[in-house]
């Protein structure tokens, strides 16, 4: 039991070319910036669009081979999809929404409604069976959508940003429920997201899609310990630089230099945690080998700290406490001294 | 022209709407003539000659079915002359004290069976109109031509099952000329064009229609109206009427 996607697909500016396999019982998170082709990839797997070349195989059976002859339309693929905005049918009750897929598979009205009611109870929504979607909260609606996708026992489960349209307050609960139901689902499952937390909590494996190409795949641990692109580093909250190591300094493309401790010479990527970036009003005197003045571009409150986005030749993020922001008077536009110890810069050959 | 009459009806409808909506705007030197639709061609021709002879006068023409003309007059339309296709309409106007002087008969007309050019269905007499293989149209009883047609059919003891009761002679003849109707009863003057032909109805069964003209008491161009009236009754006017198929009174 597995899903295999290996195809080319050109849609407007997007040129998607990928080779991905997802095993039964495995959740793959497809992450990437906007326009990288995540949703298009999901739609190709779902049969909502057809591919140009290549093959899509589910349990060895061809769903699409780019010729049009083998294309299996969505309604015959036996898949479950949860969309970003729940897309529950507005003219049907929650129960009828969940029963819809069962009815489409030829199950009688009564039986379908019974099964639907059971699914709603399992989602903790037994009391909302008769409600129309517009009277449900975002989190409730998304649970109904999940029940609707799962009720007809699909062979493949696809989730497209299932948490993006849900309030922050409801997101955590929904994420936990999602994790439970994903684990209970036996087939391959793919979740598209741009949120690192979703990817790390829900997925067993992550594939990073940028510009239509997979730039990195791996377990969550492998990805977070070794981000290969700025996007991945940003995703997991690390500062990221790419350049050439020469004489214990990493030379960036724009000429800026970063003193590093590395045996390696040549092309390399470097990461550093935002917490190891120190900020000073004056040029610091002491151990940090890297120090330069740069303007503050933005302040972004994080969970229990503030992320200070800094511009200049080597843009990076520093993480400081809210008390520091207040005592130092940090604000966008202010020029400040940035200092990083060479030992805090992690260099990996590329 | 295939839809000559239909198009005329269209133009008339527009004119009618326009003339009913504005009061005289063309100044004191124009005579307004209200005339039955069937008089369109000869009265227009007479008006042209009249204008040539009276360079200081213009003739405004308004053609419509008799019932419409009456309604316009009742609702306050102002005209100098009225020419109707029947005595009854003129009598009605007289009861409103709108006519000045007694109306004069200036032309006569007779009914005819109007068929397509070449008479493809071989219609020769009123009794043919009872044939079940023919699509026959008449005018409705609210139109004088419709009433006369009924009189003629009754006199000839012919029962017709019309497919439609048109609200104007023009519409009826138009549908015959398009071939949608095989025949209809209209005035002999209506068959005066390329796409249709007239089959005469013998005098014994026919109805003679009198056309009356009268000056109107609320008219603004009394002398001009009298002059136009005189021209209609003159040899010149009568010749033009005859050329369009009308009979002398």
């Amino acid at each position: 039991m597995s899903l295999h996607l290996r195809f080319n697909l050109n849609r407007g500016p997007l040129q998607l070319k990928l080779d991905l396999a997802v095993n039964a019982g495995e959740t793959l998170a497809l992450v990437g910036p906007n326009g990288s082709g995540k949703t298009t990839c999901l739609h190709a797997a779902a049969g909502l669009i057809s591919i140009d070349h290549g093959t899509i195989l589910l349990n060895g059976a061809v769903l699409d081979d780019g010729t049009g002859n083998a294309f299996v339309p969505a309604e015959q693929r036996d898949i479950g999809i949860v969309f970003q905005e729940h897309r529950l049918f507005p003219h049907m009750s929650a129960q009828d929404n969940v029963a819809f897929g069962l009815r489409a598979h030829g199950i009688g009205r009564k039986a379908a409604r019974l099964t639907a009611a059971a699914w709603l109870s399992r989602m903790g929504l037994g009391d909302f069976a008769a409600e129309k979607p517009h009277s449900l909260s975002g989190g409730q609606a998304q649970r109904v959508a999940l029940a609707r996708a799962l009720a007809k026992a699909p062979r493949l489960l696809l989730l497209d940003e299932p948490l993006a349209a849900v309030d922050a307050s409801a997101r955590q609960d929904l994420r936990r429920d999602l994790a439970t139901h994903l684990r209970a689902f036996a087939g391959p499952r793919i979740i598209v997201t741009h949120d690192a937390v979703d990817a790390f909590v829900l997925a067993d494996r992550i594939a990073v899609l940028e510009g239509g190409r997979i730039v990195q795949t791996g377990t969550t641990e492998a990805i977070s310990s070794n981000p290969r692109t700025r996007y991945v580093a940003d995703l997991i909250g690390l500062n990221f630089f790419r350049g050439v190591v020469r004489d214990s300094a990493l030379e960036l493309k724009n000429g800026a230099r970063l003193i590093v401790v590395s045996q390696h010479q040549g092309n390399a990527v470097a990461t550093m945690h935002p917490r190891s970036v120190a900020l000073f009003h004056e040029q610091p005197i002491g151990s940090p080998r890297n120090a330069w003045p740069a303007p503050i571009e933005a302040l972004e409150p994080a969970l229990d700290s503030v992320r200070v986005r800094i511009g200049g030749q080597a843009p990076l993020v520093a993480e400081v406490t809210a008390a520091t922001v207040a005592s130092m008077g940090l604000r966008p536009g202010l020029t400040i001294w940035v200092a990083i110890k060479a030992t805090e810069v992690h260099v990996r050959p590329e | 022209m295939m839809f000559g009459k239909v198009r005329t009806a269209l133009v008339l409808a527009v004119l009618l709407a326009a003339s009913a909506c504005h009061r005289r705007t063309t100044g004191p030197h124009s005579i307004r003539v209200f005339a039955a639709a069937s008089l369109g061609a000869p009265i227009s021709a007479i008006a042209k000659v009249f204008e040539a002879q009276h360079p200081d006068l213009r003739v405004e023409l308004n053609f419509a079915g008799s019932a419409t003309l009456l309604m316009q007059l009742r609702e306050g339309a102002v005209a100098d002359l009225l020419a109707t296709a029947d005595e009854q309409s003129m009598a009605t106007v007289a009861t409103w004290d709108l006519t000045s002087g007694s109306p004069r008969i200036f032309a006569q007309n007779q009914l005819a069976i109007v068929v397509r050019k070449g008479n493809p269905k071989g219609i020769t007499a009123l009794k043919d109109l009872a044939r079940s293989d023919l699509a026959i149209g008449l005018c409705g009883p609210e139109v004088p031509a419709g009433r006369y047609a009924r009189e003629a059919l009754e006199t000839a003891k012919v029962t017709v099952h019309p497919r439609t009761l048109e609200t104007s002679v023009q519409a009826l003849v138009g549908k015959v000329s398009l071939g949608e109707l095989d025949a209809g009863i209209a005035y002999r003057t209506d068959a005066n064009r390329d796409s249709v032909a007239a089959v005469a109805i013998p005098n014994a069964h026919n109805v003679t229609v009198h056309y009356l003209i009268a000056t109107l008491s609320h008219g603004l161009q009394r002398s001009g109206a009298d002059a136009f009236c005189a021209m209609v009754l003159s040899k010149e006017g009568q010749d033009l009427l005859h050329a369009h198929g009308f009979l002398a009174p």
Partner: protein, 264 residues
């Protein structure tokens, strides 16, 4: 200064608004006040009026039936893209809305009359020619009314988020189930608007019917035709018939009242 100019503007707007309202309200008021109320029941229960009313209902419901049967597939096809072909077809289908009805009648007569190719074939198949038949009143009414249905439904279909259909497909619904269980229920307001507008337009159809279907009591003389004929012989009856026609139209617009103002 500013206050004064704004208040004089308000007076002007109020005045013009009042004139505008009067322009539309007075004719309806005139019909209502001139209606021969004491004779109304007797008038309306007369055989010719009943016949005309029956024919009007047949032609209007027939037009709605044709509109749904033929207009729905057409609207589905039109809504799928904006190609040149579809634009041309949309213009052709919309034409009767702006075409002078008399032109529409002439066109119908030329296209489906018995001297036309289509009309001749029709006569061969059904044994009667289309013009001057009750069927012709349906065709004329449908020709004039269906564009409203097609435009309304097409607008509804275009406004329908296609992602709902993706969702339905992912749940295993084939094209028919998607159409029946998702598309149609979701465009129901446009369907209702389209049907009512089509019905109302068909009910009021006069000129094209007279031109194409003729004017025979009991066969093709619908209410508007009866009304026009009555105006020549019995104006009181004409006003009574106008009252029915106006009431039916007002009823349709009342049912549709929410379609013009956004509901919150």
């Amino acid at each position: 200064m500013k206050r004064r100019s704004s208040s004089s503007l308000r007076v002007l707007v109020a005045l013009l608004t009042a004139i505008a309202v009067a322009l539309f309200a007075l004719p309806i008021l005139a019909i209502v006040t001139s209606a021969p109320w004491s004779r109304l029941i007797e008038q309306l229960s007369s055989v010719p009026v009943q016949q005309a009313l029956g024919l009007s209902l047949i032609s209007s419901f027939g037009a709605v039936l044709l509109a749904v049967l033929l207009g729905l597939p057409l609207a589905l096809w039109l809504s799928q893209s904006t190609s040149l072909l579809r634009t041309i077809v949309r213009i052709i289908v919309t034409l009767p809305i702006v075409l002078p009805p008399v032109t529409a009648g002439i066109a119908l007569l030329l296209a489906y009359g018995r001297s036309s190719l289509v009309g001749a074939q029709f006569e061969r198949w059904f044994g009667f020619s289309l013009p001057f038949s009750t069927a012709a009143t349906v065709v004329a009414a449908a020709y004039m009314g269906m564009p409203f249905f097609v435009l309304s439904v097409e607008a509804g279909l275009r406004a329908l988020d296609p992602r709902y259909l993706d969702a339905a497909a992912s749940l295993g619904a084939g094209p028919w189930r998607r159409l029946w269980s998702v598309t149609l229920p979701m465009i129901q307001p446009s369907l209702r608007t389209g049907i009512l507008l089509c019905f109302a337009r068909a009910l009021g159809e006069y000129c094209a019917t007279q031109m194409f279907a003729g004017n025979l009591p009991g066969s093709t003389r619908t209410l508007p035709l009866a009304c026009a004929v009555a105006m020549e012989v019995d104006p009181e009856l004409a006003i009574g018939l106008s009252l029915i026609l106006a009431s039916l139209s007002i009823a349709v617009l009342f049912v549709l009242r929410h379609s013009w103002t956004p509901r919150r």
